[in-house]
Amino acid sequence: MTPASAARPLVSVEDLTVRFDTGERVVHAVNGVGLTLAEGETLGILGESGSGKSVTLRCLMRLLPPRRARIGGRILFAGEDVLAMDERRLADHRGRSVAMIFQEPMLAFDPVFTIGEQIAETVRRHEGLDRAAARRRALEMLERVRIPGAARRLDAYPHEMSGGMRQRAMIALALSCRPRLLLADEPTTALDATVQIQILLLLRELQAELGMAVIFVTHDIGVAVETSDRIAVMYAGRIVESGTARDVVRTPRHPYTAGLLASRAEGAPRGTRLGAIPGAPPDLAHIPTGCAFAPRCAVAGPECGEAVPAARDLGGGHQASCLRV
């Protein structure tokens, strides 16, 4: 490997914008996201609903409806321009290089085929294995995601499994072709607490075993901490802060990140007031000029409304887009 290719990131996103045009109004879902991800690295994207975290994730696999979504900017995967891929190239890209898991596994599976058939079909499509070899791979994958009685589960239909088992089966499906990048869109949000932690730990183990890169989208700081090396915090379609999980959680520099951490009920003594952020996130059809967080920010001044603040380097890969840092 030449030094140049070793340094090349697996994913590089530059100035990504996504607009949804509904005819009546234009929703500015993503407004200039830039990020890089190294081979084998785990990035958590933390944000509230409407922050653009899921839309950003979907762009990496081009899953947005092309008629309604206008995508701008550049997405490179292993040096290849994802936005320029034609349908055939995309079909190879999806599932083989990049795979995705969702909050609701029932949407990822076809209800009329068994779990085993669906995993085997994916492997045959992408790797050209024969029927028997594909079935062996499906079994191996179910074992890898620690589904008890995997051989029996191969012939189960999705509805015959419990929520946690279905989530494991979806992970098996996503990883069946050894993707280099796994996209995880709130995969544990619908799960019960004792099941959620099992799935988080499983994903962490599989990431270490298989060495893939992961982007984990979540609204839950704890989930991001459990899974991610680095965390990027999104607000109104922009990354406002990013850095190692340690830097972002311990020494948040953007007022939004700091506010989110201060508003948590965790560890707050009873009878005290939580440090709530006033107001609500902006309407994405009418994003304020300048810093989108300024109207809710305790330290904002008139200059914050003038231009979108650029990311400022705080050392150690820690960045925040705020005039006050």
Binding site: E48, A193, I197, I221, E226, R246, S263, A265, G271, A280
Partner: protein
């Protein structure tokens, strides 16, 4: 008699029939709530936690008879339901706020009409009910001049939940049942609503039943906490002692399943394997025995009763009962 609890529930039970076959005969029961008993003191917040299917929401609905229980007694402020207290009176005194802020509002009514609806049904003149609605909007932090005439779809999730709280307060209830009332809100908005609930409780002298799957939020809000598993109460006690020293293995597992907030101390091992069993056919004996790391023979055979474990705590675990035959019995219980 200030010691009378505001709410006393005993032996609450609800099984939902599962029908199947050609004739739609009953083939099984979902044992949603089975023998649940607890008390809530005046001015107290009792938190109820547990995973899906544990019966926490069904318990809330049974309390104000949104669902008819199979068995059980409800005593509100010393008066039994149907014995000194009518259902209408109970529902005036105990109001509920639900998780889905949108589904619980009538889309054709303005915010002010929604809040005034209950009082008008109870005979309040229209003008007076409108004044009350505007006062309540102010109380929940919404400017009546801006919000009184709006419809639910014109509000954000946090604003709608404030309207639901205002409506719940319109009949001057004494008990508010909050069923995952902040769960659908974004974190930055959740904190605002939690602060509001704390303020209202202090101002109006309310009693809360606070149901949530979020253990951090329950700890912040509650004086005492009740933990449920598959339709049963497994542990109930003061919030700080219960969180610091859980006695039931399920409570301990639930607490250690919370994701870590410290990147240097990430969770190393999941406390439990597998999913919660199906409440249609719950395990014999202790319902938790199939997932419990300490399960022994007595756990499979006999159901543990809810017994005192010191510190105003009740625990339903054979390890807490010296007579149960469990090899660890007495060790934990004696420490109390």
């Amino acid at each position: 008699m200030s010691a009378t609890p505001l709410l006393r529930v005993s032996g609450l039970r609800k099984f939902f029939p599962v029908r199947g076959g050609l004739l739609g005969r009953k083939v099984a029961d979902v044992q949603a709530v089975d023998g649940v008993s607890f008390e809530v003191a005046r001015g107290e917040t009792l938190g109820i936690v547990g995973e899906s299917g544990c019966g926490k929401s069904t318990t809330a609905r049974l309390l104000i008879r949104l669902i008819e229980p199979d068995a059980g007694e409800i005593v509100f402020d010393g008066f039994g339901l149907g014995d000194g207290m009518t259902l209408a009176e109970l529902r005036r005194q105990a109001q509920m706020v639900f998780q889905d802020s949108y589904a619980s509002l009538n889309p054709r009514l303005t915010v002010a009409d929604t809040i005034a609806f209950g009082p008008r049904v109870h005979g309040m003149p229209a003008a007076q009910a409108m004044t009350l609605a505007r006062d309540l909007l102010r109380k929940v932090g919404l400017d009546p001049a801006l919000f009184a005439g709006r419809y639910p779809h014109e509000l954000s999730g946090g604003q709608r939940q404030r309207v639901n709280i205002a409506r719940a307060l319109a009949l001057s209830p004494r008990l508010l049942i909050l069923d995952e009332a902040v769960s659908a809100l974004d974190k930055s908005v959740e904190a605002q609503v939690l602060n509001l609930l704390c303020d209202l409780k202090a101002e109006l002298g309310l009693t809360y039943l606070f149901i949530s799957h979020d253990l951090n939020v329950v700890r912040f809000m509650s004086d005492r906490v009740m933990v449920m598993y598959l339709g049963k109460v497994v542990e109930i006690g003061d919030v700080e002692t219960l969180y610091a020293d859980p006695r039931h293995p399920y409570t301990a597992a639930l607490l250690s399943a919370m994701p870590s907030m410290d990147p240097d101390r990430r969770t190393a091992e999941a406390p439990l394997a597998g999913d919660p069993p199906n409440p249609i056919d719950p395990p014999s004996g202790c319902r938790f025995h199939t997932r419990c790391p300490f399960a022994e023979d007595p756990c499979r055979r006999a159901e543990p009763g809810l017994k005192p474990a010191g510190d105003r705590r009740l625990v339903a675990c054979h390890m807490n009962d010296p007579a149960s035959g469990h090899s660890r019995a007495g060790r934990q219980g004696e420490a109390a």
